[in-house]
Amino acid sequence: MQIPIETFRLDNGLFVTLSEDHTAPIVAVNLWYHVGSANERAGRTGFAHLFEHMLFQGSASVGANEHFELVQRAGGTLNGSTWLDRTNYYETVPSNQLELALWLEANRMGYLLPAMTQQKLDTQRDVVQNERRWSMDNQPYGSWWERLPALCYPPNHPFHHSLIGSMRDLDAASLEDIEQFFTTYYTPDNAVLSIAGDFDRVEAKRLVERHFGPIPRGAGKPPLPDMTLPPTFGGALREVVPDDVVLPRLFLAFRSPVFGSDDYYVASVCGAILGLKKGSRLHRRLVREEQIAAEAQSFTYDLTKGSDLLVLDVTGRPETSPEALERAVGDEVDRLRDGGVTAEEVARAVTLIETELIVSLQSAGDRADKLSLFATYFGDPSLVNTQAARYRDVTPERVNAFARTRLGADNRASLLYVPRESETTTASRELAEAGAR
């Protein structure tokens, strides 16, 4: 599976990638800014994400609630998201509305500040604080979002602090912060623009030049501190969190090779053998056979600097003690590390991942996002066409070598959610009652 890719760079540094596909009259426009929560200064946790919200509040030629309205009126979908090391903005529109999408993105890249007001900032601060309550504070296990990175990255490391931000830091964000952040990071030379779908190349280039060309280059961004970390934690890390939950849940994280490195693909396959879908070891052993877990999965953060994280996420059954759950998952990791993996297990994982890669290229929006990803991190969007081959290069020997060096007791961070006393009592009482019926 190869998708066509063309790239060029404007004089102001904006890197542009194009990928044509005329099967449907749809086009996706996708912008990645190479800035995320890692770039936040002390006392301003959550600012990169709050700033993302402000980019939907209008710009010089776009009214307060107009950004969403114009795209939706055009028959398009849109959103944005913030991650530790990047922020993206995207819309998929009928192909005859390509220029609208480019104009909207260019208008806020070039001319955002005239539209910023204290009232808009105050409202979005409220919205984001409600987002925090909704996704974390009022969700069972919700705090894992900030507890896991805090446990796994040392204090002062750019990935250590909360992405959504503390209520206090959000309260402190000011219009001056907005101006400074915008001027520093929201510049064409710190961004990648991808267009995928039904468009004419010559016309698209003309439109990109017309709308983004006049925006001046930035003055450069301050470098991030050294992000390098040793390959392991150098010991076992552990945090136990009593929460308003009825089932125990374990996040077991390992420092792992950064996204894009050869060993990243090995780590990813190892993670898939342990936790991708129902044929994985954790699901088969703990959910199906021993029946001590209700769910099991694995994932990676896909970070390109310092260290990535490979995470196993296992939720226990009501009658399983948190400690037993933790022990059982640890035993499975030991078993893999000591006994190695089979060629069949590697083949299962790689085949599943390959199908997922192709499925993810079906929509224009996903294509554009992948192009932006590889262009932002590696300056080379055509890497999207090499991913399947890199997974196919993974062998059982390489997975075993990875497991030996990275899955040992010196590289495990255990974040364990345990039901608060009252919840445990209630749950077991209810189980007993249900049993009696």
């Binding site: 398009g76 001319y111 409600n130 069972p140 939950v245 009825v246 129902k278 085949t351 599943l352 019926r437």
Partner: protein, 464 residues
């Protein structure tokens, strides 16, 4: 802003769209096998992928009294042993060809679906044949899935959003209505489930005449038909009679209920009542009306609660379309101390929707969005398969997707007002709040003009 930016290099004027290119929902064909099994095939050759969905008339709404949850359990158990393979071996077979299969039941159907590389379609379909025709329902797996469901129900008590949904359904429907409890069943009904009940449900409901196989992707009609004939041609058996369960709404007086979650930083809110069946003649008017009210980001409710007041991260409304009248619900999560204010704004927006026509601007925002976004909805083979499955489940007109965009564009401001007046009922808008009773009970009682119910997460009444 850089000092070099001058008016000569300022922003370009707002662009106008070029001529739209035409779009057609993928053409599909129907076939019927002699045994009554039906096929819908939409050849789409963009990528070497095929999505298949088997739609079986075996949803929760045809369960017998006292067997709530059997549809869900039966669908899940298809994957736990079939054709001489146990669950682990079946899982392995699917995953080795790069796919994983989903089997579940909702209110109106059971579905078995997957997406696979086109070259592996015959292998995948042979496995789907085993699931549908020769499931084994091993005792051990029946017991395990029951236990997993009970764990899920316990877990639900800790999830404010899920809890609000559950309690909202209880408020909207009469206690005897099937829709009043979860599609997957409650602890009592799940605990009572046996292998025989599952087996009987399967025998009666999973038959060739109740099954439609949908294909979308890189496959021809001829090939899909040949494969299906080969694998399902000798499947026989007659489906048992069905009678859909009652789904009566609760009495038409407002219920205001607080599910107590002490110290909750936020209130999960549900406001609504029974809505419309999917095949109601007002479907398009109601869809556009809902888009303006709370279906879009730029809808009245979201702009009011989020962008004007900052009460919430998001608020939206929806008709849940089922064969019978599913709920109409407005849902949001708001900071605890503005719960009363948020409810007042929601009630106000409902009144406003019913009292005057919307502006032409609001109408065209909704209709041009629903019209324009239509091709974007069907970019993937699985989305096309799901759309065709809905055609089957709801027995929609053959040209439904071809006519969808014109029907949306045909909705008028008068039609929207009519839909609001007919289908929004302020007097029986039930209000369910999962939140801190110390903060929310008083403002809600003020709005209600009467005491409100306070219950614990398991539904037990608490003295207020």
């Amino acid at each position: 802003m850089s000092a070099t930016m001058t008016t000569t290099s300022g922003p370009a004027p707002r662009p106008t769209p070029t001529e739209p290119r035409s779009y057609h929902f993928p053409a599909f064909e129907r076939r019927t096998l002699p045994n009554g099994m039906r096929l819908l095939v939409a050849p789409v050759s963009k990528l070497p992928l095929v999505s298949i969905t088997a739609v079986v008339d075996a949803g929760a709404s045809v369960e017998r009294e006292g067997e709530d949850g059997v549809a869900t359990l039966t669908a899940q158990l298809l994957l736990e042993g079939a054709g001489g393979l146990d669950g682990a071996a079946l899982t392995d077979r699917f995953e080795r060809i790069g796919t994983s299969v989903d089997a579940h039941a909702d209110w109106d159907a059971a579905t078995v679906s997957l997406t696979v590389l086109a070259e592996r379609l015959p292998d995948a379909l042979a496995l789907v044949r085993d699931l549908l025709r020769t499931p084994e329902f091993p005792d051990r797996e029946v017991a395990r899935l029951k236990d997993e469901r009970l764990a899920e129900l316990l877990q639900l008590r800790a999830e404010p959003g899920a809890l609000a949904d559950e309690q909202f359904a209880r408020a909207v429907y009469a206690p005897t209505a099937r829709y009043a409890t979860l599609a997957g069943g409650n602890a009592t009904s799940v605990r009572a489930m046996t292998r025989d009940v599952v087996r009987d449900f399967y025998d009666e409901r999973y038959r060739p005449s109740t099954t439609t196989l949908v294909f979308a992707g890189d496959v021809s009609v001829e090939r899909a038909e040949a494969l299906t004939r080969e694998l399902f041609g000798d499947w026989h058996g007659v489906a048992g009679p069905t009678s859909a369960r009652a789904v009566d709404a609760s009495p038409p007086t407002r219920i205001v209920r607080v599910v107590a979650k002490t110290d909750a930083p936020q209130s999960e809110l549900r406001v609504g009542h029974a809505g419309l069946p999917r095949r109601h003649p007002d479907y398009f008017d109601a869809t556009v009306m809902n888009a303006v009210l709370g279906g879009l980001f730029s809808s009245r409710i979201n702009l009011n609660l989020r962008e004007v007041h900052g009460y919430t991260y998001g608020a939206f409304s929806a008709f849940e379309w089922r064969r019978a009248a599913g709920p109409f619900v407005i849902q949001t999560a708001v900071k605890s101390d503005v719960t009363g204010a948020a409810v007042r704004e929601i009630l106000h927006e409902i009144e406003r929707m019913r009292s005057a026509e919307i502006s032409t601007d609001e109408l065209t925002l909704a209709t041009s969005y629903l019209d324009g976004v239509f091709p974007i909805r069907y970019e993937t083979t699985s989305a096309i398969a799901t759309a065709l499955s809905n055609l089957v489940i709801h027995d929609l007109p053959e040209r439904f997707y071809d006519e969808y965009r014109a029907r949306v564009r045909g909705v008028t401001t008068e039609g929207v007002l009519r839909a609001a007046q007919r289908h929004l009922h302020p007097d029986r808008l039930h209000i369910v709040v999962v939140g801190d009773p110390a903060v929310v009970v008083t403002p809600l009682a003020d709005i209600h003009g009467a005491p409100v119910d306070v219950v614990t997460p398991d539904g037990t009444e608490v003295a207020a």
